[in-house]
């Protein structure tokens, strides 16, 4: 007896043309949505570049790099971008100095030492920290951290880089912790076993095998955190002040690049004026800084990532 079903082609009549058409429609729809993000990026970069060129029609590029004052709204305007960069560098350096040890140690603790119970409590807490709006962090820095620090650093001014940087660091810690933990967690168990089988203690296995194996992920998490710190606006605007000052002193009011953009954008600066064009030059500088960091991160990860199958 033949158990095969009999072949009857007349029962199978797929509409190939209709399915080809619907495939094409779906493809177009998804393509269009993908295109939106590409066009947005091109639009933003294009605007930045266009307005930046307008700016450099009026202000020599050399002055932009070498002036030691930032006074674009004064009658005797000076445009020393390094005044703003030095401010951003101060807050970001302090922030990374806080977030790097805090985030990395938290990540090591969570992935290597914490029991399942502890992790269940600590991880959501970190996520809550990541979800706090930055304006809240800003007021926390201004109204709590600064007075606290002033009690033992009397020269600390009401607006300063130090407390803005500290709180900025706390605000990016969850980012470092979470991404570093992913990188550490991704190190295969077989590598840890290999270390233990050679008589490594837990600390030796972590320091000599697990962390080097996770290095590329950890470094890229830190670079992402630096980019975030450079671009952070609310905390530094609220807590660090609006006073452009060149230098490295963290105790005085400063004006970061983002804070300047806020200041001009909130004012009644007419479109097309020099002050208006200035914010695009500053925005372009910000964009280039984070772009360089991201390219470095991309290169570093590709160079140092280990492949395990």
């Amino acid at each position: 007896m033949n158990s095969e079903p009999t072949r009857n082609d007349s029962l199978w009549q797929p509409d190939r043309q209709a399915s080809r058409t619907s495939e094409a429609i779906v493809r177009t729809i998804f393509g269009a949505f993908a295109l939106v993000s590409v066009l947005t990026t091109i639009g933003i970069v294009g605007t930045l570049i266009f307005e930046m060129f307008e700016f450099f029609q009026e202000v020599p590029f050399w002055n932009f790099l070498t002036d030691d004052q930032w006074t674009p709204l004064f009658p005797t305007a000076e445009f020393g971008i390094f005044v703003l960069i030095s401010a951003t560098a101060r807050t970001s350096t302090i922030a990374v100095a806080i977030a790097l040890p805090l985030g990395l140690f938290a990540a090591i603790f969570l992935s290597e030492y914490a029991g399942p119970k502890t992790r269940q409590i600590v991880k959501p807490l970190l996520e809550v920290l990541a979800g706090i709006p930055s304006v809240v962090f800003g007021y926390f820095a201004l109204l709590f951290v600064t007075p606290l620090l002033q009690s033992f650093i009397p020269i600390l001014q009401g607006f300063n880089a130090l407390s803005a940087g500290l709180v900025l660091g706390i605000s990016i810690t969850p980012l470092v912790a979470s991404l570093s933990e992913d990188a550490i967690f991704a190190v295969p168990r077989s590598l840890r076993d290999g270390a233990y089988a050679l008589g490594a203690t837990k600390r030796e296995a972590i320091v000599s095998v697990v962390l080097p194996a996770a290095l590329s992920g950890i470094v890229s998490s830190i670079i992402l955190a630096v980019s975030r710190a450079i671009g952070e606006t609310m905390i530094v605007t609220l807590a660090a002040g609006q006073n452009p000052s060149l230098g490295l002193n963290p105790f005085v009011p400063i004006m970061t690049m983002t804070a300047f953009i806020v200041q001009v954008s909130l004012g009644d600066t007419p479109a097309g004026s020099l002050a208006y064009k200035t914010i695009f030059a500053v925005g372009m500088t910000l964009f280039l800084l984070t772009l360089v960091l991201n390219i470095f991160s991309f290169w570093f990860v590709r160079r140092f990532r280990e492949k395990y199958d």
Partner: protein, 267 residues
């Protein structure tokens, strides 16, 4: 059935008595009794889930790293019970080395793959010499001597596994445990590792878990056959069926289950 006469009169390197291993509340392996004689190669064979790897991982307390694992019974190593509270598993693992199923070189240079174990164990001698000697003994020196600073991960699978054996030898263990060391390797690499095992037997006691019965018959002096039996509720428990000279296990086994397994009727 365990043939006492086969287990050679000399003081055994390892002796397991009434060894039971639990994962959580599930018994994984029950009542294992066996002696591993010095300077012999002992093969553990048996179907999947029979507990041969589990027993192997008791010998250097790697099972301690699995939070739910629990061991009862004793394993004597030079007169002391490995599971006595006074024994430090970290110290123990320096003396009983292990090679894993999948080659797991560290993401470090070939040189540092070898030097790592020596450094953490406080080796005070000439590191270059130790690296060379270990690589030579693992029969991989000629292939890597010109690229000691390259990553261990850049080697082929078979070379990686010999690097891992060199790494284990470098800390001068007394016993080397091998958990299916050739299962991820091609036939030629497998042959090289087997030749290496023959060489290493002169100096080390080797316990090797293998799925490959030809391999067991080629490399081992003694063979332990494990099997698993189903319990009520669907879980399986492994046990030692028969332990004897390899030739006896393969040609004249005492148990029918062994006969069936080595002749390929199941497993």
């Amino acid at each position: 059935m365990v043939n006492e006469s086969a287990q050679i009169a000399t003081e055994p390197a390892l002796r397991a008595e009434n060894l039971n291993v639990y994962y959580g509340s599930t018994l994984a392996v029950r009542e294992v009794n066996l002696k591993i004689p010095k300077n012999k190669v002992v093969a553990f064979i048996g179907p999947s889930g029979c507990g041969k790897s589990t027993v192997l991982r008791c010998f250097n307390r790697m099972n301690d790293l699995i939070p739910t694992a629990r061991v009862t019974g004793t394993i004597s190593f030079q007169g002391t019970n490995l599971y006595a509270p006074s024994v430090d598993p970290v110290e123990l693992r320096r003396r009983i080395g292990m090679v894993f199923q999948k080659p797991n070189p560290f993401p470090k240079s070939i040189y540092n793959n070898i030097a790592f174990g020596a450094r953490i164990n406080g080796y005070k001698g000439d590191m270059d010499e130790l690296v060379e000697m270990s690589l030579r003994r693992a029969a991989i020196w000629d292939e890597v001597k010109d690229k000691l600073q390259e990553s261990g991960l850049a080697l082929s699978g078979g070379q990686q596994q010999r690097l891992c054996i060199a790494r284990a030898i470098a800390i001068a263990p007394e016993i080397i445990l091998m958990d299916e060391p050739c299962s991820a390797l091609d036939p030629i690499s497998t042959l090289k590792v087997e030749e290496l095992i023959h060489e290493l037997k002169q100096q080390y006691t080797i316990v090797i878990v293998t799925h490959n019965m030809q391999q067991a018959s080629r490399v081992s002096d003694l063979t332990a056959f494990y099997n698993a039996e189903a319990l009520e509720g669907g879980s399986k428990v492994g046990y030692l069926v028969e332990y004897d000279r390899t030739t006896s296990i393969f040609h004249n086994p005492a148990e029918k289950a062994t006969q069936d397994y080595v002749s390929g009727r199941f497993g």
